[in-house]
Symmetry: C2
Subunit: 256 residues, 2 copies
Amino acid sequence: MKILISNDDGIGSEGIYALAQELKKIGEVIVVAPLHEQSAVGHAITMKLPLRVTKYMKNNEFFGYAVDGTPADCVKMGVRNILMENPDIVVSGINHGSNTATNVIYSGTVSAAREAAIMDIPAIAISVTSHDANEFEYAARVAAHFCKVIAEKGLKKGTLLNINVPNKPESEIKGIVLTKQGHSKWDDVYEKRVDPYGKDYYWLTGTLLPIDKEPVYDQHAIENDYVSITPIHFDLTDNETYDEMAAWDISGQAIG
Amino acid sequence: MKILISNDDGIGSEGIYALAQELKKIGEVIVVAPLHEQSAVGHAITMKLPLRVTKYMKNNEFFGYAVDGTPADCVKMGVRNILMENPDIVVSGINHGSNTATNVIYSGTVSAAREAAIMDIPAIAISVTSHDANEFEYAARVAAHFCKVIAEKGLKKGTLLNINVPNKPESEIKGIVLTKQGHSKWDDVYEKRVDPYGKDYYWLTGTLLPIDKEPVYDQHAIENDYVSITPIHFDLTDNETYDEMAAWDISGQAIG
């Protein structure tokens, strides 16, 4: 199995290292990841600037290719210019921090996997639910397990699995549940500060609102010590509203 | 009607100016847009850097607030720190270039409107289908029209309308159609070049593959001289795969 690995925390992060070490047990691993941290870049791609690729060493050994761009750039570059062919699967992570609910929209980690899905390559995004996570070994084994499950069962083109693992010892994790993207979102606050030259600046902070109470949602699952697995795609059509709007008769309306 | 306007081409672009001029006829307009061009930044938000807000003048008059961040930042900042309350609607555009099919994923313009949808504010993203567009007057009227339609009929929380207008004279536009997000995607190519110091760099190029042949899809509609209107949301759950995976019995699987 040929496995392309990327992330958004950067090629030097602990999570991607743990992931690569584990996945090497089940296949050929190629790491193509951002040179610099790219959290919350969403599905940004670099079109107005050139990209450079450098070889990245870890513990005096070649670890992978660093790209001075976004997670989605890394997957495009990895497939088109480094592998020169589709890998069997793309795995993005292990992210330091959860990617549930509306965070899925902001996440660079999920976007790397989604870029693979756009390229018709099966993909997994995997995150541990703390920015201070220091235990990636179980999450890495979860990723390896689902690589094998996907190899056996297949995954619909255009779909990826978004996996979130509680930041707990394996013994405290209650199980794995199939989930849907939740509705929790940030109550944003901009902290106003003054720079050393007397000018105002603003820094985004906020708290995640606990909206979903049902176990079917990803955020609820991780808060209750379950690993959540959500199949996601990139078709944003709101079919319910589409059906409702059919009654609006937009085609017949004159534009004033 | 209080209308917050943003875009991804930057506050100095022609599209946002045409939009603001038209929407001033139907409501109170507040422009909060990126200081610099932010095309293809997707749903990036700025968390690791501070943001600054400056007043932007056009034709010797105050035009709006410029934020040195992304389109999604501008909407958050506009609502939380400038308006200090929800506007009645957020309109993002007029984008120079189409935002159909998989481009919806990469688009900063759509992401600004999607950020509004996350905040439970009705929103419209509007684009003219050419990067060299020089005619925004009709598209601006289309945007104003659908602001009024949404004010009258409402829009489900979490949903926005993604509107694409062919870059043609109004007389050549055949009508307005309700569409779904299409499947056309980019066949990516990285052009390899050498810098003045002998080092390689890569520049993303590519062609949009014409995949959808059915009039129901946005890309097909604009290629056939129709304005396309696609309702989109930010729930990425792939419900079809969710139902299939129920048979995988993931909860019972041991992680090796």
